[in-house]
Symmetry: D2
């Protein structure tokens, strides 16, 4: 990968203050990285919506631009005329308070604007954003800089979705198209060890001046019983044993809803796995590959992660336990900038920390996604970013191989329904101590 | 109501020990009370399944007997021959480890055995149970008494379901049949006050020798921020104001899933409410009645409870907060034995406690139903009773007007999906202090 | 069966004129026969709707009475007050012009009125009808006698539906309840011969003064190519060969819609058949029985009949061909009054006519159900009886073992969608000559 | 339009004999015309499947080429290796006997092969086809020429589908993209007159040496009652009166299935119509336009056509009546080569013939699509072309503005389900004489 692009968005804050010039630099890097991710695509690949949960790449490109136009350019200039009034309708995702929106399941029906026109829209927004960040008054900048920063993190989330949605789309094609080649990786075989933590009151959640989403706060105290956490992710070899042991046949291992969902969807292995002539293979962004037993298992639902944990005689960690473990760990791992688009075996033995906490795969926790004590969403449409989804979803932690390094942190709370499998979601075990 | 029947099941334990004679007395009372609840029914009313979530009364009558045959008589006598082998299949609810089962959505297709034959089955089981409790060896009794006790609480749960399922069924009939008459009740108009509780570590959950379901333990510590709890339930008058203020029209009041569910189902008021000539009426077990603004609101989903709380500038309590409040309150309120089958206004001003904590309506909490730290379900099929449902459901507390007084306690955790409305579910508010 | 009941409705016309006294006799016989068919039922069996296409027996009992109240008593007396106003809503089937109606898929939700109350409703209608037929003015009788006659044929149709709907309901019960016992029947093994008919213009359709539904006329001319008709129905032994030869596996035998429907529903044999230890059995109204290879095959869809015919190197007859064949045949066969409720082998060699034209099973034709040239439905709601269904259905001819002998004739056009299997529907073959 | 392209496929037969050189000329013209129709498209427009009934343009381009490869190149050379083996799977439409196929509802998920690759595939097939038609042995040509001819008519059908599927796709886009501009047309206002035909035996169906689909034969006799046929198509002005008169509100005008379908889909006007500020507009391939009351009404389902006819006191014609009327009429009208892509008012007063019989809109008949007497489909997969669809569809006659002039004839039988509205389908009235 182009090394310039690898230096993507970092915290644009100095002592908690946002600097317009720094933020413009970040803006430039994040926006270009989105387009970099589209380079392997044919025009045809941008258009299709493979399922309701996923969106066409073209939509992601336009929506992330709409976010800046609607929430930044609009706020900075009360006389701002929409660049393309109908894009306000087409590319609003779910912000009810920001106006009417095109229905999500119809996103794949919209062949126009074309990809070229969407790229042109991106340029128009970029021009206005650049001018604003360069020339905006102090008062305006004070108001909009935090939203620009939010918009960049928002775009990084969509970068990850571009990859997971594309992977799902390409997997539906019997031709099994290849998104990109990866360098072969040789990792380490690590034993699964258990790190212990004592009972007590711990503080979790974000506080301070660095960026975080609203759902990461307020920082607050929780009481935890003693627990142990696994020293690395569950790998594919271990998951194969679960399958071979009848993991998908034994109702006693599953939550009731999971058993029903699994039977109805006829799951017998993780998404993208298939057994060919007795050998497990999986579809990846670089084509169909034999499965390396040391690779972390991924594309499992919460239900599968939970059943696997029960089969192992362990359990999934609480999100608070995970955060306590990760709080002082360095943010190192396999991220999208490394160009693997794939979870890989541990690269080096961990130095006292559980390995693979960040990057590689999102780790399902046993915690439903609920507001932290004292949580209040922002007012206005931006308040819809996170808060209104706090029901029927489970929290995942740690980022994945499709996440940017600068996007993740120990307090980050991702969330998906327990049936979701198309994200890079995997398993770390915990136990009562 | 027959005063003998009012003396229903109490704790059959003395110093934590179960006494067979006492338990037989309880058995007799609980079983007869089930049948008492069926007295107003025509044979036709026993048969129909009004929706997948509900079951025919006939099925409840048989399933509760199956529970005793399958888990008690079977365990007590290894040579026990099923009284009716096909009932094992027909009346198993969800115990995968207890054998195959008739599919839930088909329960209403089974016209035979007839109601009379199911009553005969109840008698057969009762005879064997009586003999066992009277003549069982000490060793056998030691093993089965806790299951008998569990079976009685299980049957009390189904008594409540008989009433809620029947109410739903009768409501679908344009003739609006009446289940039973109630005595008119005049309650008190109470102001809504706020009781404060300080931050700290609290212990919640069941421990000790009295009966509780496995999901109520282990007792464990939680850290709570300071909070305030409402002194009574939200009443219908308050809920009417929410409706009149556009509560069902404002997306900003709703969780995203709630907004979608509410729009799809076209909810505009609680279940069973309808506006006739500008006046709110509701279908109850005693027919269509004008709504008393002082009655607690009921038959609302979690989503509606949550939206109402947000509209009120408050929130729903955590289940731990609720339990801390209720821990030392007397178990008093409006229960099924009082013969109202309906939530009613507070009967007397509370003496320092929040009113209506027990009985009347189940109170939605903001807590998803998850295992307590250290929770382990029992082994074998009985372990499927509670544990496998710990996903996608919200906890409700406190019992309802369809609950038996002896069935409820401060640690009791009821749970339903956030869309459920056919239970007697209502709202108590909380706030950050 | 009670021999008095066997003498059921005959043509109440003398020289085309309806006589009130004769019609009252018919009325009495038809109405009592409906109730006779319900004798084997438990109350529970009356209530349940096993699928949207079928109705509860209780509904049939009430709807046939509603027909007389709504279209006869109402017409005869402009001051007639509905006996039970809400029954007008509950028991209207599909007559849009007769007022609003309870939705068909909800018919099984209505536990009240009870069975006893519906029987009471029948008596009330019978009393008024009797009085009307005995005392009505000449002018009134002139107007209503044809509707009474229509109502009796309508009720005979519902007698057949009571049996087919009940059979479907009972089949869903793993206990496999028995409706009634039948006398064992020994039939004749007949070779399949072909009767030839020459090309030419033939007249088909009803004309004259005897009763017929509106859809049987006008009588009109059709041009037919030379054809041959099979001398008897296709029997179960022949159908077993079709199955054994991969009939359900070969797409080239099936219409495209049939192939799709069959695959989706996973049909591998006629409805109610099952193979137990290598032997074909079928569920019948008298329980599960081994299949007699000489019995006519029944409970097949049009698609199966069509595929069987193609496999046989033959085809299904046109409805016009069938009628030409049947026009001069005696109306003899196995009807509901014979108490078999089951298609049986031919009872005697046919004397020059194809056998089994009437009774036993409805015979699928290759003719879509369309209006005859010059067809005009009656005005008003009665016009909705037949005409509005003339799309997406196929014509069946000849009646079945669940039809009354007096109900069937050579011009009778029954019709069902090509997927329907719960009627007694079978196969007669034809060929181009 | 390029005048060379206007000279598209004509009958390549001389005295019934197919000449390879002539056929190659036709091949060239038809294939180029398909590509001509794609000129206004962006790459994005080729990919999306807007509903299960429709297909992406890219799929049409590939499937029509697959037809030639699979049924011609394969048959001509037993050693033919598939050009791209997976295309055999991807681009088979419904020929079960030609091998497995990609599921129809997934056609829009296939972003690769790209549009450019599909065009390359077309060129590869064209090269081989050209070589075959130029150099094939007499024996080979004798066998394959009829299939080549069939393939050209097949491709012309898909040209029409390209336009109707694209129109449907573009209509889903709130931007309302324009496919192509049309020349304004001024037609004639013609009174609706009735042409009478006497009763008798008529022969219909194709015979002779010119091309026809198998479903157009055998020629056979039918008996018709006297009838009258409308002198022109029903126009939009007349249809507006039907709407204004409550046509969509009166159940008595509709077939039962039509009423249900219309209510469920909430139809209140033809597809693509909308009322803006009290004025009727419609989406067309050249954008949103005010409706000319003299334009033929189009994009109505069979149910709407049938209801309109009933409202008019008329009926739809039988397909035999239509063919008798059209048998001697010249094949003149508004076809796709005229570049309107839109039904237009009659261009000149008809000279004794009903006007607009060919072109403009497909005319719904009252005839279900069934086999003609003596019909036998070809053996092998080609036999699946027409015969297996002879159920649940209605016949349409006469071609449309999206049909090629050389593709249509008086015996041509088009067919669609009675709910279909996205074809250019309209209404001609008939009456009993």
């Amino acid at each position: 990968m182009n090394s310039q692009l690898k230096v993507e968005a970092r915290d644009a804050r100095t002592n908690g203050r946002l600097d317009p010039a720094m933020l413009l630099l970040q803006y430039e890097r994040v926006r270009r990285f989105t387009e970099f991710l589209c380079r392997p695509l044919a025009i045809e690949d941008y258009v299709v919506q493979p399922m309701t949960d996923a969106s066409p790449t073209k939509w992601h490109l336009a929506h992330t631009s709409w976010f800046f136009e609607r929430f930044v350019l609009n706020a900075a200039d009360p006389h701002h005329e929409p660049l393309h009034p109908q894009y306000y309708f087409l590319f609003n995702s779910y912000y009810q308070l920001a106006g009417k929106m095109h229905p999500r399941p119809q996103r794949g029906m919209i062949t126009r604007p074309t990809v070229a026109e969407v790229h042109e829209y991106r340029r128009e927004v970029d021009d206005l954003m650049t001018r604003l960040l360069q020339n905006g008054s102090g008062r305006t900048l004070h108001e909009i800089l935090p939203i620009v920063e939010l918009g960049l993190h928002h775009e990084q989330q969509h970068q990850e979705l571009i990859l997971t949605d594309l992977k799902y789309l390409l997997s539906l094609n019997p031709l099994r198209p290849v998104y990109g080649e990866r360098k072969p990786v040789t990792g380490h075989e690590l034993p699964l060890l258990w790190h212990s933590f004592g009972e007590g009151i711990y503080a979790i959640g974000h506080e301070g001046e660095s960026f975080a989403y609203d759902n990461e706060g307020p920082r607050h105290r929780v009481f935890l019983n003693p627990f142990k956490i696994g020293s690395r992710l569950v790998n594919c070899g271990e998951y194969m044993k679960f399958i071979a042991d009848g993991g998908y046949e034994r109702s006693d291992l599953w939550l009731s809803d999971g058993w029903i969902a699994m039977r109805e969807a006829d799951w017998r292995c993780p998404l993208y796995w298939e057994r060919i002539d007795g050998h497990w293979q999986r579809f990846t962004l670089d084509g169909v590959r034999p499965i390396d037993p040391l690779d972390p298992v991924t594309h499992v639902s919460f239900y599968e992660a939970d059943a696997f944990a029960r089969w192992s005689g362990a359990r999934l960690p609480l999100e608070s336990e995970w955060e306590v473990v990760a709080a002082s760990a360095p943010v190192e791992g396999n991220f999208v900038e490394d160009g693997h688009y794939h979870p890989i075996p541990p690269m080096k033995p961990p130095n006292g920390f559980p390995a693979q906490l960040f990057g590689d795969v999102w780790e399902w926790t046993s915690s439903p996604y609920t507001p932290y004590p004292g949580f209040h969403p922002a007012s206005g449409p931006i308040g819809e970013y996170n808060g209104k989804f706090m029901c029927n979803q489970m929290v995942l932690r740690g980022g994945s191989c499709a996440t940017s390094r600068s996007h993740i942190r120990a307090t980050y709370r991702n969330f998906f329904p327990p049936t979701a499998r198309w994200q890079f979601s995997g398993i770390r075990l915990a136990q009562d101590a």
